[in-house]
C-alpha cells in the first residue's frame, strides 16, 4: 500500500472543516472533541501551547471539563490518575524533563489500570539543555506499562488523540500519543477537524469503572504479596497483548467514520523490496520522498513506519519483513551503551525469524538535527552496500 492518505468520500469532505494549525493545536482540538472532563497540566516547552489552548477554551467556557493548573508534572499525573479512578476522562501533556519527573506516576497509572491519555512532545533530555526533537524521553518510559503511539504529522496526532481515548478506555491501560518538538508541535499543516457528532459517534461518553464508590467501598492499590504482585503484572501484560488487536480494530472503525487509518505499522512498497527503511514519527515523511527517489533510480527499496511502539507489534513486523534481506532502522534516539531503541526492539522481534534479515541501525536526527531526503538516501545506499551490519548503530551527520 502507498503511504499517503486514502482518497476521501465526498459525503464527509463537505462536513469536516480544515484548519491550518500546529501539531500542538491539533492535540488540543482532539482533547476538546473527546469531551475530556479533567485536564491537569503544567507548562514545559514545547508542550505549553497545548496547555494554553485548553486554558483559552476553559476561560471562554468551551472546554466542558475542569482545568487543574498544577505545580508540577508529577502532581499533574497524580491528579489525572486520581480523577481517572473517580471515573472521569482525563488528559495531560508534557515533554522531556516533565515526563522524566512523572516517571514514578506513569507506573502508578498503568498499575491502577487507569485510562489516562497524555500527549508527549518529544524533546531532548538535559544535559546538555536543548529544546529539540529527540525521542529518548518517551522511549525511556517504554517499561512503564503505557501504550505508546508515535505520530508522523499534525492530522495523525489529532486522530491519534481521539483513537487513544477509545483504546485506553477499552483495555483500561493509559495511552501516550507522541509528537516531535518543532517538526510537529510547532509546524503548521492543514488539518481536518472532525465534526463533533462524528467524534461522539466514534467515542461514546466516558463510562469508566468507579473505583471510589462510597456505597461499595474498596481499598484501591493496597500492598499485596509476591504472588499477587506477579499475577497483577501478568494481567497487565495480557491487557497489553490484547490491545494489539483492539488498536487495530479501533483504527478500522475510525476509518469507517473518518476515512483515515494508520495501522500499527505502515508499509510502502515492501512486497518486492531488497532493502526496507524503518522509521517512526516525522522522519517517515522525509523518508517517503527519499524512497520514491531511490525507486526511480531502479533500486528495490521499501519503507516501514512503526506507529505503535507499546505494545510492540512483533508478529506483524515479522510478517511484514519475512522476505526482506536488509533492513535499515533510523533512530532519533539512543540508549547510551547500546544502540537506537527502535533498532534494538526490531532486532529482538526478528532475531529468530525466517528471513535472517541483516539489520543495520542508523542514528539520525538526534538532538533535533535535520534529517534531509539526501541523508536518508545516504543511509539507504550504505545499507545496500554493507555486507555485514555493525554491532552498534552508525552515527549519521
Amino acid at each position: 500500500m502507498r503511504g499517503c492518505m486514502p482518497a476521501r468520500r465526498f459525503s464527509h469532505e463537505c462536513r469536516n472543516m480544515k484548519k491550518f494549525i500546529t501539531g500542538n493545536d491539533a492535540v488540543a482540538e482532539g482533547v476538546r472533541l473527546c469531551r475530556t472532563q479533567i485536564v491537569a497540566a503544567y507548562p514545559i516547552t514545547p508542550q505549553t501551547p497545548i496547555y494554553e489552548k485548553l486554558s483559552d477554551w476553559d476561560a471562554c467556557g468551551e472546554l466542558g471539563g475542569r482545568m487543574m493548573r498544577m505545580e508540577s508534572e508529577h502532581s499533574a499525573m497524580a491528579a489525572c490518575l486520581a480523577a481517572s479512578l473517580t471515573a472521569t476522562r482525563t488528559f495531560t501533556a508534557t515533554s522531556s524533563q516533565g515526563l522524566a519527573l512523572m516517571h514514578e506516576m506513569l507506573h502508578f497509572a498503568s498499575g491502577c489500570r487507569a485510562p489516562v491519555v497524555m500527549a508527549c512532545v518529544n524533546r531532548s533530555l538535559a544535559i546538555p539543555w536543548g529544546f529539540w526533537s529527540d525521542q529518548t524521553d518517551t522511549l525511556a518510559q517504554r517499561d512503564t506499562g503505557w501504550i505508546q503511539i508515535y505520530s508522523e504529522n499534525n492530522q495523525e496526532i489529532l486522530d491519534s488523540v481521539i483513537q487513544a481515548y477509545r483504546i485506553a478506555e477499552s483495555v483500561l491501560l493509559p495511552c501516550m500519543v507522541i509528537l516531535e518538538a518543532s517538526f510537529i508541535s510547532h509546524f503548521m499543516e492543514p488539518v481536518e477537524i472532525p465534526e463533533q457528532d462524528l467524534v461522539d459517534k466514534f467515542l461514546p461518553p466516558a463510562n469508566l469503572p468507579l473505583r471510589f464508590d462510597v456505597e461499595r467501598p474498596a481499598f484501591i492499590a493496597p500492598v499485596v504479596n509476591q504472588t499477587e504482585y506477579r499475577d497483577y503484572r501478568r494481567l497487565s501484560q495480557e491487557a497489553m497483548e490484547l490491545s494489539l488487536n483492539v488498536i487495530d480494530g479501533i483504527d478500522h472503525e475510525f476509518d469507517g467514520i473518518f476515512d483515515r487509518k494508520y495501522g500499527l505499522i505502515e508499509t510502502v512498497d515492501t512486497e518486492d523490496a531488497e532493502l526496507v527503511i524503518v522509521t517512526s514519527g516525522s522522519i517517515t515523511s522525509t523518508a517517503r520522498v527519499a524512497q520514491v527517489r531511490i525507486r526511480e533510480k531502479g533500486f528495490k527499496i521499501g519503507l516501514l513506519k512503526i506507529r505503535v511502539f507499546r505494545p510492540f507489534p512483533s508478529e506483524i513486523l515479522r510478517e511484514a519483513l519475512k522476505h526482506v534481506g536488509k533492513i535499515a532502522v533510523i533512530d532519533r534516539n539512543i540508549s547510551l551503551g547500546s544502540e537506537g531503541i527502535f533498532c534494538s526492539e526490531l532486532k529482538a522481534a526478528l532475531c529468530d525469524g525466517p528471513a535472517g534479515s541483516k539489520i543495520q541501525g542508523y542514528l539520525a536526527g538526534i538532538g533535533g538535527t535535520n534529517v534531509s531526503p539526501e541523508l536518508i538516501e545516504r543511509i539507504a545506499f550504505d545499507a545496500f552496500n554493507r555486507e555485514h551490519p555493525t554491532v552498534r548503530s552508525i552515527w549519521m551527520t
Partner: protein, 299 residues
C-alpha cells in the same frame, strides 16, 4: 466545648468507619485518631493515604480496616491525589462526598510538601490530616523535618541538630480557610476540629501530634498521657488559624516543665541539662509568639 454529633448505629453507639482489627503497633495514637476522625466524617468519605503508618493501619490486601473507599497513592502525592478526586467529584456534581488525605510527617513536611503547597495554593477542596509522629516511623525511625531538636532517631544517633519545621506557619502562609493543631490527648478537641473542617470548603489542614511508642521509645500505655503532656508543657499547643491570619488558642496549658514530657520518652534519654534548658527556652518563646498572634484577634 461543642457537643460531638456522630451518626449513631442501631445499638446507640457511634457508627464506626474504622473496624476493629488493624495493623497498628500497640499503643499507636494514629489508630485512635483515624477512628475518631472517620467516625466524625461519616461514611460518605473517600480516603487518600500515602506510604505512612496510616497506610499500614488501613491494611494489606485482601484485608482493610476502613469501611470507606481508600486509595494508597504515591508518597509525595497526598495533596495532588486528593485534589484529583475532589475535582472529579465536582465535575460529577457529587459535592457531598468528603475527600480526606491522611499523610505522615514525612509525606507532609518533606517529600509531599510541594504537592500539598500546590493544592493549598489552589484551595483544593479536601481535608488533610498530617499525622505527625515526628520521624519516618514506617521505615523504622529516621529523622524528618518534623523531628524536634536533639531527638534520637536511627539517622540522628547523637540527636537531631535541626529544629522542627513550623508546618502550621507554612500552611497559614497559603491563607487556607482552616488550619488547626490537635493532639490525641484531647480527643473531643480533635473531633470538634474535624467537625468544623467538615462544614467548611477549600483546603482544610489538621496537624495532629501522634505519639508513637515504637519510635519515641515510650511505654505503650502512655500514649494519651504523653499526648496530653505535649499540650500541657506547650511543646504542642492546641490552636486554630482561619484564613491564615486569625489565630485562636483552644487550650491554655498548665505550663508544666518540658522535662515532664521529655523524661517519659527514651528518644530523649541522652539529653543534657543544657539541651533540656534549650528546649524549654524555645518552647517558651514559641508559646509567647503564638499568644501574641492570638491576642491580635480578628481584624
Amino acid at each position: 466545648m461543642d457537643d460531638i454529633e456522630v451518626t449513631p448505629s442501631s445499638t446507640g453507639r457511634p457508627a464506626e468507619i474504622m473496624r476493629s482489627g488493624h495493623n497498628a503497633c500497640p499503643g499507636c495514637a494514629q489508630a485512635i485518631a483515624m477512628r475518631l476522625i472517620l467516625r466524625t466524617l461519616g461514611g460518605r468519605t473517600i480516603v487518600v493515604v500515602v506510604p505512612a503508618c496510616a497506610a499500614i493501619i488501613a491494611g494489606q490486601f485482601p484485608r482493610t480496616s476502613l469501611n470507606v473507599p481508600v486509595f494508597l497513592a504515591a508518597f509525595e502525592t497526598a495533596g495532588a491525589s486528593a485534589a484529583g478526586i475532589s475535582n472529579a467529584l465536582k465535575y460529577k456534581g457529587q459535592d457531598d462526598i468528603i475527600v480526606l488525605a491522611l499523610a505522615g510527617d514525612g509525606g507532609t513536611f518533606d517529600i509531599g510538601l510541594q504537592s500539598l503547597s500546590g493544592a493549598a495554593d489552589r484551595n483544593e477542596d479536601f481535608i488533610y490530616v498530617c499525622m505527625d509522629n515526628e520521624a519516618y516511623m514506617n521505615t523504622g525511625i529516621q529523622v524528618s523535618s518534623a523531628t524536634p531538636r536533639y531527638t534520637w532517631t536511627g539517622t540522628t544517633p547523637t540527636g537531631n541538630p535541626r529544629r522542627k519545621k513550623q508546618i502550621m506557619e507554612i500552611m497559614a502562609a497559603h491563607r487556607i480557610p482552616y488550619a488547626a493543631t490537635a493532639s490525641i490527648g484531647f480527643p473531643e478537641d480533635l473531633m470538634r476540629k474535624v467537625k468544623r473542617a467538615k462544614e467548611m470548603r477549600g483546603t482544610r489542614f489538621i496537624h495532629l501530634l501522634s505519639p508513637c511508642p515504637t519510635g519515641w521509645k515510650m511505654a505503650e500505655d502512655l500514649t494519651a498521657k504523653i499526648g496530653t503532656l505535649a499540650v500541657e508543657t506547650n511543646i504542642f499547643p492546641l490552636y486554630e488559624i482561619e484564613d491564615g491570619l486569625f489565630y485562636r488558642i483552644n487550650h491554655y496549658s498548665r505550663g508544666l516543665p518540658v522535662d515532664d514530657y521529655l523524661s517519659l520518652q527514651g528518644r530523649y534519654d541522652h539529653l543534657t541539662q543544657k539541651e533540656i534548658h534549650d528546649i524549654q527556652a524555645e518552647t517558651d518563646r514559641t508559646w509567647k509568639d503564638l499568644q501574641a498572634k492570638a491576642d491580635r484577634g480578628k481584624y
